[in-house]
Symmetry: C2
Subunit: 601 residues, 2 copies
């Protein structure tokens, strides 16, 4: 059975050393995030995920969820008990608002936990994950009454949440939503329609499920401008605020999926269910986007999560499995064969994983800090910069992070040879589970268009200019550090590729928007590559500085320097190739008629 150990040392390195979170102690909510507190949260929540949740990952896959005739759903063996432990542990409350029972800690802290829970057991993690997204939307758009009614028990985890967007005919294009909301005269609405692909839509873990549902009021515009958001609890709250009457929403089916079997992906039928509007009429999409942006960062983290657990197990296997001899002569002549760890092609895959995972961890936590700074930085200028950067980066973290995370998970499966393909070893589950992250919360094609069609040009390109300036500053300061000049120069070249690609869009996309669409995926990957490089520069600088002091764990910092150099030589070269593809434009891509794609007999 595969195992998982939370990489707490690396998380602490990023939070304490790279981000230097303690230096933000003067900001609201950060005052409690002392280094002691950080270390305790990281270490203990990591322990909980490794010891309680990881052992349920494979059984969750094997058993999946079961829908019964009455529409109720049972989660896999052990999930219910583990969920109760999770609620008791309080780990779900880290980032919640203090007035509703949360700990009000920086988002960075809950994001560190979110990595661990998703790595230990992604299907399980989605239950509290959806709750936290739904709570964020209520927090942002709900009335004071709604917040008081729902948030405390959602933050504590006693109740869970969902987000209901997709319908059978309507995924990305939410303007096509058909679910209706009829006012009932008492301030409530009767919600009727069918929603599909609802993660955690029905289950046996909590005493109530709070559905957030997009629907259209009578006479609403027939477009995304006519969508409103509703809160629809599975059990309507009674006067004491406890779950009362069963609402008219039921699980009609659960999907058979490629992976994440332990999470119930439901078709939900709303038959005149009672709901209450959240925020303003016709402004539902904006409210939902609060949730979506947080969720997209969380999905990016899933790209890291499955890559990380697959990596940890592949390392073990590579050290244990003996096959063949090192190219440079037997490494362990007294054994019949060397561990496959000695083979460069195995090491290539492990190193790719190591530098992606550590770079992505740094990026996700850096991104979480930007989310915090968006709300809490001292000056308007700082808040705006953080908001610009995280808005720009969200599709990159989601899109590049999950594309590349999936590649890495596949490479780790490859380390196992034939044993990677059989279920027993658990590697193929990591691949199947990680595949969904490229699809949900907006496919990666949608992320690429969000980046290139909206974020790049927004406010005259203010965000991308700020990003370029930040990366340039990092490059300039790395050049001053002994041993980092070569990495900095490679980064400079890669950044030039991104700038040139940006310029190409500026010069060509106006004339033909298809040029933008044709290059969006390439651009997102260029930016992902450069951004992880940006994170590696930051890490390398911190490591170089730490080594000046001859620290006890010098090997940890030396590995950071080697990893940064490996990243620069093995990941950055793709930026140039992607730019050339982008600059090819859309002509040949869009030229062929439908008929040319038919299979000719």
């Amino acid at each position: 059975m595969p195992t998982y150990n939370a990489p707490t040392r690396d998380t602490r390195f990023v939070i304490n050393e790279m981000l230097d979170l303690a230096s933000y102690g003067n900001l609201p909510g950060f005052e409690n995030a002392t280094q002691d507190m950080i270390d305790t949260v990281v270490n203990e929540s990591g322990k909980f995920c490794s010891e309680v949740l990881a052992p349920l990952n494979q059984i969750g896959d094997e058993q999946g969820c079961t829908r019964h005739e009455d529409g109720s759903v049972t989660t896999p063996d052990g999930f219910k008990e583990a969920y109760a432990q999770l609620v008791e542990s309080g780990w779900t409350t880290l980032g919640g608002a203090e007035e509703y029972g949360g700990q009000g800690l920086p988002h960075v802290m809950s994001f560190a936990f979110e990595e661990y829970i998703g790595t230990a057991n992604q299907a399980f993690a989605m239950y509290p994950g959806l709750t936290s997204g739904a709570a964020a939307a209520l927090q942002a758009a709900g009335s004071e009454e709604q917040k008081a009614m729902y948030l405390p028990k959602m933050i504590s985890g006693e109740w869970s949440g969902t987000m209901n967007l997709t319908e059978p005919h309507c995924g990305t294009d939410l303007g096509m939503i058909r679910t209706k909301a009829e006012p009932q005269g008492d301030g409530s609405y009767a919600i009727t329609g069918t929603k599909i692909f609802i993660s955690a839509g029905e289950h046996d873990l909590t005493s109530n499920i709070i559905h957030l549902v997009l629907a259209k009021t009578p006479g609403a515009p027939d477009s995304s401008k006519g969508i409103s958001l509703f809160v629809v609890p599975k059990f309507i709250l009674d006067d004491s605020g406890e779950p009362g009457e069963r609402n008219g929403v039921s699980c009609g089916s659960i999907e058979k999926k490629m992976g994440i079997h332990g999470n119930a992906t439901c078709g939900l039928n709303y038959d005149g269910a009672t709901g209450w509007m959240v925020g303003e009429e016709h402004k539902g999409l904006a409210a939902m986007f609060v949730m979506m942006n947080a969720a997209r960062l969380g999905v990016g983290l899933q790209g890291l999560a499955q890559a990380e657990v697959a990596y940890q197990n592949a390392v073990e296997y590579a050290l244990d499995r003996r096959q063949g001899r090192a190219l440079t002569g037997p490494a362990e002549p007294d054994q019949k064969a060397d561990p496959i760890f000695v083979h460069p092609d195995v090491r290539r895959m492990l190193m790719d994983a190591k530098v992606f995972n550590e770079g992505m961890r740094a990026l996700c936590l850096w991104g979480a800090l930007q989310v915090d700074l968006t709300h809490k930085a001292q000056t308007e200028e700082e808040r705006q910069l953080a908001d610009d950067l995280i808005g720009l980066m969200t599709p990159v973290i989601k899109g590049y992070g999950t594309d590349k995370g999936y590649d890495i998970a596949n490479n780790m499966q490859q380390v196992y040879g034939g044993h990677g393909y059989v279920k027993e070893w658990g590697m193929e589950q990591f691949v199947r589970d990680s595949r969904i992250a490229m699809i949900y919360e907006g496919t990666n094609g949608v992320q690429a268009m969000d980046l290139c069609g909206r974020k790049l040009a927004s406010k005259g390109g203010r965000a991308i200019q700020a990003y370029f300036a930040a990366v340039e500053e990092e490059i300039a300061s790395a050049k001053q550090v002994e041993g980092l000049a070569d990495i900095a120069e490679k980064m400079e070249a890669a950044l030039e590729e991104q700038k040139a690609a940006t310029m190409w869009f500026m010069s060509n996309a106006m004339a033909n928007l298809n040029h933008l669409g044709a290059g969006a995926h390439h651009y997102m990957h260029i930016m992902g590559i450069v951004t992880l490089g940006f994170m590696w520069l930051k890490q390398a600088k911190v490591a170089a500085a730490a080594l000046e002091g001859s620290p006890e764990d010098a090997a940890f910092y030396e590995a950071k320097l080697t990893s940064a150099a490996y990243y620069a030589e093995r990941f950055l070269p793709d930026a140039a190739a992607l730019r050339r593809k982008l600059e090819a434009g859309s002509e040949n891509m869009m030229k062929l008629p439908e008929e040319a794609f038919a299979t000719a007999a």
Copy 2:
């Protein structure tokens, strides 16, 4: 349910127009491969696969194979009847030797069929596929008596075959084999040991199964030099040559796998089973390699196969599913949304698939022709050239073809959005089924080392020089064709990258073999990219010539020209990036100690 139509027009284009098979009519075995014969075989075998085998693909995945308590194995519903139809149809006999009941047609013909059967139903295709590999090994290394005993019924498909290499502790490193073969004094051997991952190892489709087994005779060298090959029939033949006494080989388990559920992957226990040596003692590996080389080409074809069926279905979906509007304005304003086919990012994925699939089909059939020419070309020089080229290309077709084919299958799943992740639509099965091709018959890392560690330097680099000359000749002649100069120039640049990478190996690998291992994967991909470009030059030249004659289906040829241009602009740029990675060498890759890969707390 997904569907499949054999792409017969494209196959005929490659065989009749690009390879001009008719021009080889003077060679033995080719005389019957008239254009009429080719068209009939292609069209009718394609029809059989599309109509009989494709409909069983999804049920095969759902049901899988069942092992019963007595060790017998039942295949999924419909497999037995379909197999009987296959035998009756005679499609398995296309390439078999005429003296044993085969049709003796060129390998190109059976390879065209092999694509179709693998595309329609990979798990099913592996039953006759393994048989044909085992028959090839017997044909090459067996005694006249053995051939007479086994080949006729293997070629007809009445009996099936397997290859038994892997043991629990021993995969790539066959020198570690423990299975024993004790001489019994009557010319037979008692075979004892455990083999795992035996595809088609036990099933209910045929009246006998002919296992080819690697084992060690007493006192054999404790290395790959001590391995012998044995034929071990499930039922020992009686005096009339019919299956008689049950042999001491049994299926102890079947693996639960990520995909290809319809094929029984068995653990086989040999308990003093009676076997007969095939070929010479201690020369088993060489005999098995005959089978492996053929099998590796077949596995390369599987990369194409799953990419092709996934592509066909994704095209249908992209034309049917409506979501959003074209970037350049509504394409179908009277509908609520446009088909997703209008979105550049969807078209990018479809075009990538189209040009990979058609390029790979051309490469596989070109490769099959080289196999034919190895044996049948008129002069020793021509035979040697063909042998050099296909020896060099086999790991590229297997390694690059399956890496890239898997990527394409994943992209086609991506076209479906959330629907791609649920089982109902069948797309996730194509991904799971295609994943194995990167692993079996030697992982793609093993292929890369076969290419770079053996094939490149073999005979003073004769093969790679011949390959460079062939590609250069194609580039030079394409430059003379109106409209192809740009593609030819891009190919010239890509070829220069490959040459530079080759030179880098020559200058650096001697000093440190790890440099070779560190770059082998990159090199294999460079060569795959250049080789498909080589095929696109060939196709473009044929298409340009055909268009001179204003043919009826001009659109087919015009699409070839656009596809060639798209390939050049979207695939070739990676060659330069891969070369840069290769030239980074092994220093940083191999630098970190084991401890640096452990998860630090």
